[in-house]
């Protein structure tokens, strides 16, 4: 087949499911227990940018946080040298080595520790196989890929067998490129149920990166490590998945509030509360939605672009584990999969940043002794990235009436 024909066919298939199909029977309703303040999410006359002041405050907190993290990241080499070789230069022996490892971990540098490498190997094995557990769990719950998408009784049996077949490929590490194609093909099929369903399932595609780049005879090799390219793509897809999910939480705010109504303990998270400090308690649920969503946007973005990947990955591991074990319990057992994926990235020694060029410019200017320009470069880059990441979509969403979703 000619390459152009292949590309055209793929594009046609990607566009095909965008057509609206009638399927409201399958859409899982949220269980909103109290009405929302609908005006909060729309245009507010007289407010800056027309954004509700509490929402704007949370966004500004997120923007400042992102700016600080970016600025520190761009100076990470200098800060590392300053702390290790100036401030704590008196340390010797195990204490010095410990400090060095902590610094490497925090600044996304390669880790030269045997146990770290072993955990990393295990995380890759866990990541390769964990989707099989989710698929088997979904199949036994008459659902597709995720337990929140129930299957139509008339076709359930076929989809369940397909999921079991795919799970067997994953568990036995057989013909992994086929497993990868099945995962992506299934994800494209999910568009049939609407773009929000497909967006919700983006993190599932992450593992397909690893599968598609594995050899056909994958059952004969021990896959315990990811290449630099694989780590990069896993990080990009996984990060983008959570970035998109964060925005989806704001777009489809009724659903997010419905979750909070059913599991009120999720609203008591100290990290999320930090984002909504100083906001009007009258809009507690609305503020929580924005804070929760922007926390996810931020962590997804950092993971995607490789800024403090390990720090944000560790935070995500903590949140996923807490949601699975404390807040939602057994219902959230499929969180095993994002935990495995995040672990595989966090415990890799091959994490790099998409913004490494800013660091390189900063270091070149430092060598040339142009301190002011160096500072201006870092501040401007951090500011532009932070503002674009946080405010653009938030502002755009205020023009869309989502009260009927």
């Amino acid at each position: 087949m000619r390459p152009r024909l292949v590309v055209l066919s793929a594009a046609a298939f990607l566009l095909l499911p965008i057509s609206i199909v009638y399927a409201h029977e399958r859409f899982i309703r949220h269980d909103l227990k109290y009405p929302m303040h609908e005006r909060y999410f729309g245009r507010i006359p007289g407010a800056f940018l027309g954004i509700q002041p509490d929402m704007f405050r949370i966004a500004t907190t997120s923007c400042v946080l992102l700016f600080i993290f970016l600025a520190i990241f761009f100076f990470r080499q200098n800060l590392d040298v300053f702390v290790e070789h100036r401030v704590l230069s008196f340390l010797r022996g195990p204490a010095q080595r410990f400090l060095h490892h902590v610094a490497n971990y925090l600044t996304d540098k390669p880790m030269n520790l045997r146990w770290f490498h072993t955990v990393g190997e295990w995380a890759v094995v866990f990541f390769l196989r964990s989707p099989a557990l989710v698929l088997m769990y979904s199949a036994t719950n008459d659902s597709m890929v995720m337990p929140s998408y129930p299957l139509e009784p008339t076709s359930a049996i076929y989809f369940k067998y397909i999921q079991v077949f795919l799970a067997i490929l994953m568990l036995t590490q057989t013909a992994l490129p086929l497993a990868g194609a099945l995962v992506i093909g299934t994800w494209i099929y999910l568009w049939r149920w609407g773009w929000m369903v497909a967006a919700d399932a983006i993190p599932v595609v992450t593992v397909a990166v690893l599968y598609l780049s594995a050899p056909w005879q994958s059952h004969k090799v021990a896959i315990t490590e990811m290449s630099e390219k694989q780590v990069k793509w896993v990080r990009l897809v996984l990060g983008f998945g959570f970035f998109a999910l964060g925005w989806l939480k704001i777009y489809n705010y009724h659903l997010t509030a419905g979750v909070a109504d059913n599991y009120p303990s999720v609203m008591d998270d100290p990290m999320i509360s930090f984002f909504s400090v100083g906001t009007n308690p009258l809009y507690r649920r609305e503020n929580w939605i924005i804070a929760f969503a922007l926390a996810e946007v931020l962590s997804g973005f950092m993971l995607m672009v490789g800024v403090f990947t390990r720090v944000w990955g560790s935070l995500m591991l903590w949140v996923f584990t807490k949601l699975m074990l404390v807040n939602f319990g057994w219902d959230e057992i499929p969180h095993i999969y994002p935990i495995a994926a995040t672990m595989a990235v966090v415990f890799s020694s091959k994490v790099h940043s998409e913004f490494a060029f800013v660091e390189r410019i900063q270091q070149r200017l430092a060598r040339e002794g142009r301190t002011l320009l160096r500072l201006a470069t870092v501040v401007t880059a951090s500011l532009v990235i932070s503002v674009l990441t946080v405010y653009v979509l938030l502002y755009a969403f205020t023009f869309i009436d989502r009260s009927h979703l």
Partner: protein
């Protein structure tokens, strides 16, 4: 060691996706053909389509027809019954499979003033059926007038108003999209649901309003479809 080429990967993805779509189309045709049924209904005048979650054979259809025999406002003789309906004998055979047990009966509306949705619902329930959806089409501007005997105080009035608004915002699956506003006439003991403009060929599930009132704790004695006279923003017509 052989790896998958880009061509192989794309081909496998396309085959997987096409396979899943084909399987879904073949096994769940009722989920795909809804839009075309809507388009078919355009230009046929006012019609009420009853989606029965259970209507598998000619025996079921006969009982539905019997239930609707005395209902005024609809033309049962010209009702469009589902095609390819199994006979009772065929349905008795264990090997017979159906893509879905549900089916639609489409009723032409002869007299909108006489049509009472509560009467239709009761007639079906008395015969052992429940209409999953009551889809009204072919009426561009209309309002639903539900008679509620229990509207004893201001709190009852406000409850209808506020709780229907809540149900509307809760309708994530697209429920109540057609509903523009609701008003309560305390003296006449009626709740009026103003529908948005209904595009030709489209229909709305008016059973949502019936089950919505039930959910709020009210049992309407009647629910009539009143045709809108002229283009006007519905809220302006609300009696104060």
């Amino acid at each position: 060691m052989k790896f998958a080429s880009a061509k192989q990967a794309i081909l496998l993805i396309i085959v997987t996706c096409a396979g899943l779509y084909a399987l879904d189309y073949y096994k769940n045709p009722q989920l795909w053909h809804h839009e075309s049924q809507e388009m078919k209904a355009s230009g046929k005048g006012a019609r009420l389509a009853l989606w029965m979650n259970h209507l598998c054979c000619t025996g079921c259809l006969a009982d539905v027809r019997q239930a609707l025999a005395g209902v005024p406002g609809v033309d049962l003789a010209n009702a469009t019954a589902p095609r390819q309906l199994l006979t009772q004998e065929q349905a008795n055979m264990q090997s017979t499979a159906l893509p879905d047990y549900g089916n639609t009966v489409e009723l032409p509306i002869t007299d909108l003033d006489k049509l009472d949705l509560v009467a239709i619902d009761r007639a079906l329930r008395d015969k052992g059926f429940v209409a999953g959806r009551m889809e009204l089409g072919g009426v561009e501007h209309f309002r639903l007038e539900a008679g509620l005997d229990h509207l004893c105080c201001g709190m009852c009035d406000r409850a209808v108003h506020e709780r229907v608004a809540f149900l509307k915002s809760k309708g994530l699956g697209g429920q109540f999209k057609w509903l523009d506003s609701v008003s309560v006439n305390h003296e006449k003991k009626t709740v009026i649901a103003y529908a948005r403009f209904l595009e030709p060929g489209k229909n709305v599930d008016v059973a949502e309003f019936l089950s919505g009132l039930n959910y709020l704790g009210y049992e309407p004695r009647s629910m009539r479809v009143v045709r809108g006279e002229h283009l006007q923003f519905p809220i302006e017509k609300t009696p104060q």
